[in-house]
């Protein structure tokens, strides 16, 4: 069982465009990018490509991946790993949907700010 205190409620899932993303601003740290795929799955990653720190939240979402807007690296939304020939990993943030609300893991969010 997880108590709600371990999860941060960031809003309605409908607020994230399909095949798009929104961000959560974390004071003193990297933003978190929250993505929604064509099939309604929600994922969260630090908003930072492992390559040159591009804002992944601004990339094109396709299938289960996002293309970084700076140099087109493809990053897996579920693992944060760079796909194809590129190597690198963006930290993921556990996320879940409850009753239409999007919840992200508080501990991972704090880590992002550290």
């Amino acid at each position: 069982m997880t108590s709600t205190a371990e999860w941060l409620d960031i809003g309605w899932v409908d607020q994230i465009p399909v095949r798009g993303s929104r961000t959560v601003q974390v004071e003193g740290g990297d933003d978190i990018a929250v993505f929604r795929t064509a099939e309604g799955k929600v994922f969260a990653l630090l908003d930072r490509c492992p390559h040159k720190h591009g804002r992944l939240s601004q990339g094109i979402v396709h299938g289960g991946a996002v293309a970084c807007p700076l140099h087109n690296w493809r990053i897996s939304l579920s693992t944060g790993e760079a796909l194809g020939d590129d190597k690198g990993c963006t930290p993921t943030v556990p996320v879940k949907i409850d009753g239409g609300r999007v919840l992200i893991c508080r501990a991972s969010t704090l880590k992002a700010a550290a």
């Binding site: 941060l8 095949r19 099939e39 591009g54 601004q58 094109i60 396709h62 508080r106 969010t109 704090l110």
Partner: protein, 825 residues
């Protein structure tokens, strides 16, 4: 309802009280009876005044295919025969766990030894104004069906809110009953929980073909009516008249009773593996429960739960371990199936089969050699087979190549190799249905020298239309030639076997109108494309259907989505348009004010004679645009695959060498062509004399003014490979220069591949081709110009003004802010 009197006094067996006379409650009792019919004394309370019926079959009742009697599961005799007391039509309103009693609304009180809660779920009613008007109903029980039948009798229009399983069934039933039906669905895809985008698109097409109106992305604002429902108003202001509104947006576990009784409730009533709640004497099954964090809204898990419950109460406890679910349904005769997790993701491979002519779409998702999900549309015969492989987690690596063709093919002894399957076909077997080409014709065409897919397409037309037989043709090439197959021209991306030109041709020929339609009809191998093909398809459709096609923002690169250039630090730069390179004090002041107000660290004069303001934060963009708009400036599209700038020199007005008004012509050209989307960025320049101060001979379209008129140059490029322009022709008047420019741009827009600038395009197709189309063919030139101007009539809206007014404002602000200092970790 007659009940056989229960001799409570003499019956000393444990008393099982069931709250809920629906599918779960009665099934649980059936399971108990099957194991030990004498174990419990059973009493069932039902809220509806009926015996137990099959709720899933309400749709056929609505559609007129069945009557209520047909869907009864257990009739009055069953209750009587098994000594079960039924209190129907009097819902339980309280549970007293200390006293171990339940009380009904009518005041009946009953004590229990074991209590089973099977309250199911309640329809979710969206909290909009007007939701309580008469004529607004849910689709949950027999009373709702009766209300719908009543409304349908009178005819008129119905609006169904919710394009999920239930909503579509309601819509189908009402439509069959003669009502004019509109379905409103909030999401872009119908049944998005069961279907992916491609299958959802097919379903929408099919339902529309059957006369229903389907509005996706439709957000209900209000239900209106004077004393009775009269219509639905959407957030965008659209009013849809309605005599009946069916709300079918979802269901919620019915937990109020359990919650008030103090049982542990999360999303549903929490139960362990034996369906026991936080009170050992209270059990729960069905849609009202939450097991291991999951709630279920389908019937199969419910059967699993009832079995585990009965095992736990009567026999050896086996324990419920959760259910993998599948959905199979038929809407308007269309078969749809989905199972497992079809959202893809890491390590998942999609195997996709699209057969446009048969209206079939199949997608199987494989991870670590096991099936994890499947979506089938139009042909669901293999649904159970995939579901079985999924549940058993069988290794499918041996079947991988033929998996998508289904069980019959995959297990058809010796045919597991697709090449062998093709080899086994007879010579007169049809390969390409679109063009009626047989295997024999393809093989003979290959034997005569067509050694690549493209050559085959060009020679005998096989695979040249919808492309569904591409795999077969490739196999025939491999069979006939062994290793001598030549790879064809580059495909658009890994998602398709078609090249850019084929895709464009088919979009026009088959009159395709949306990205999912292209992906379906051209057999895309991925569910929603990639970052290469989506922007290209978006452009091709935009170019083919000006004013008609709805731009897909999520298929645009960030710069075009945000109308500013992303820079390496994640900030943006903003370039207002300066017509022909001209500016004035008002504009300069506005730019200076923006630079100060938003702390822009740098302003730079660009190569195209514009001012570029750097370091603007994404959140500030709308305010920056509003300020620039206020001074009369619009977006310079410095970010777009679009007309960028028109560079000019001062020309005859000031320059002692100038022969024509190059600045004036530059402004006119820019006014004509700004806002147009192109395959790539597009630059124009106008020089006032052959000294060429505006560097017109390295632009996509350059004008060099001379004494006798205007030299028109095309295909210049100052990029990595510098290319000077080719001279297209010379014209005498400004108007001709403008007309030729418009025609050239349109030819480029219609013929170049996405991300191909004019320079490589001209080198590929040859200058003669361009001259033949623009210079020699006067009628053709005029037609191109007319198409360009028509397209421009839709595209010259300043995107900044729309955004400054708040359009898509949510793209600019974070969804939430988090300040760790104030949080207790």
């Amino acid at each position: 309802m007659e009940h056989r009197p229960i001799k409570a006094d003499s019956d000393t067996r444990e008393h099982l009280v069931v709250i809920g006379n629906g599918m779960a409650g009665c099934r649980a009792v059936e399971e108990l009876l099957a194991r030990d019919p004498a174990r419990y004394r059973v009493k069932i309370f039902g809220a509806e005044p009926r015996v137990n019926y099959n709720r899933i079959m309400l749709s056929p009742v609505l559609a007129g295919e069945k009557s209520f009697d047909d869907i009864v599961i257990n009739d009055a005799d069953w209750y009587a025969k098994n000594g079960i007391a039924l209190i129907a039509g009097d819902p339980v309103v309280a549970i007293d766990r200390a006293a171990k009693t339940v009380t009904t609304r009518g005041g009946v009180s009953e004590s229990y030894d074991k209590l089973l809660i099977a309250t199911g779920s309640d329809p979710f009613i969206i909290p909009v104004p007007g939701k309580d008007l008469p004529g607004v109903i849910a689709f949950r029980d027999m009373d709702d069906v009766a209300a719908m039948l009543d409304a349908a009798e009178k005819g008129g229009s119905a609006v169904v809110i919710g394009g999920g399983l239930l909503g579509l069934e309601a819509a189908h039933g009402l439509s069959l009953r003669g009502m004019k039906v509109t379905v409103l669905h909030l999401m872009p895809t119908l049944m998005e929980r069961q279907l992916d985008e491609a299958a959802g698109w097919l379903l929408k097409q099919a339902l529309e073909a059957r006369g229903q109106t389907i509005l996706t992305g439709a957000d209900t604002a209000e239900i209106v009516g004077d004393g009775r429902v009269e219509g639905v108003i959407l957030k965008d202001g659209t009013l849809i008249p309605a005599d009946l509104v069916v709300m079918a947006v979802g269901i919620r576990p019915s937990t109020a009773l359990a919650r008030e009784a103090g049982l542990a409730v999360g999303r549903g009533i929490q139960v362990d593996d034996h369906m026991v709640t936080s009170d050992p004497d209270v059990l729960a099954v069905g849609e009202c429960v939450e097991h291991d964090g999951q709630v279920y809204g389908l019937v199969a898990p419910l059967w699993d739960m009832c079995r585990s419950l009965a095992d736990g109460l009567v026999e050896k406890p086996t324990g419920y371990r959760g259910s993998v679910t599948s959905t199979k349904l038929k809407v308007s005769g269309i078969d749809v199936f989905s199972a497992g997790d079809f959202s893809g993701g890491d390590g998942c491979e999609d195997i996709v089969l699209r057969d446009a002519s048969r209206g079939v779409y199949k997608r199987v998702i494989v991870k670590d050699d096991r099936i994890v999900g499947a979506v089938l549309y139009g042909d669901t015969a293999d649904g159970n087979w995939y579901f079985d492989l999924l549940k058993k987690q069988e290794d499918v690596s041996d079947l991988r190549d033929v998996l998508i063709f289904g069980q019959a093919f995959a297990s058809g002894g010796g045919q597991a190799d697709p090449k062998a399957a093709v080899a086994a076909l007879s010579d007169d077997a049809e390969i390409c249905g679109c063009n009626g080409v047989t295997k024999g014709q393809v093989v003979s065409c290959i034997a005569k020298g067509a050694h690549s897919l493209d050559a085959v397409r060009g020679t005998c037309k096989a695979s040249a239309s919808c492309g569904s037989c591409t795999g077969l043709v490739e196999n025939l090439l491999a069979l006939t030639l062994g290793d001598d197959v030549q790879s064809g021209p580059k495909t658009m991306c890994k998602c398709t076997s078609f090249g850019h030109d084929d895709v464009r041709r088919e979009i026009v020929a088959q009159e395709m109108r949306s990205i999912p339609e292209v992906m379906q009809k051209l057999h895309w191998a991925t569910p929603d494309g990639c970052s290469s093909c989506r922007p290209a398809l978006n452009y091709y459709l935009l170019c083919a259907l000006p004013g008609d096609y709805v731009d897909d923002q999520q298929s645009r690169f960030v710069n075009e989505r945000l109308h500013a250039n992303i820079q390496k630090d994640g900030t943006y730069s903003v370039v207002p348009r300066m017509w022909g390179g001209l500016t004035n004090p008002t504009e300069l002041r506005a730019i200076a004010d923006v630079v100060e107000k938003y702390n822009a660290p740098m302003v730079k004069v660009t190569g195209g004679q514009r001012l570029d303001i750097f370091g603007i934060r994404k959140e500030d963009l709308p305010a920056v645009w509003a300020d620039l708009n206020a001074a009369g400036m619009v977006s310079g599209h410095a970010y777009g695959k679009a007309l960028r700038t028109v560079k000019t020199c001062v020309g005859s007005e000031w320059c002692r060498f100038g022969t024509q008004d190059s600045t004036g012509l530059g402004v006119k050209l820019e006014r004509m062509s700004w806002g147009s989307w192109m395959p790539h960025k597009f630059k124009i320049a106008v020089s006032g004399c052959p000294r060429n101060c505006a560097e017109a001979t390295i632009k996509d379209f350059g004008v060099v003014c001379v004494d006798s008129g205007y030299e028109l140059h095309v295909g210049g490029n100052g990029g990595i490979h510098v290319r000077a322009t080719d001279l297209l022709c010379k014209v005498a008047t400004e108007q001709e220069a403008m007309d030729y420019c418009a025609a050239f741009i349109q030819l480029y827009r219609e013929e170049a591949r996405y991300l191909e600038r004019t320079a490589p395009w001209i080198e590929r197709v040859g200058l003669d081709h361009i001259k033949a189309r623009i210079v020699d063919d006067e009628a053709g030139r005029e037609a191109l110009r007319a198409r360009f101007l028509y397209s421009q009539s839709f595209s010259q809206d300043d995107p900044w003004a729309q955004r400054a007014e708040g359009a898509e404002a949510e793209h600019h602000a974070p969804m939430a802010r988090f300040t760790p200092q104030k949080e207790i970790a």
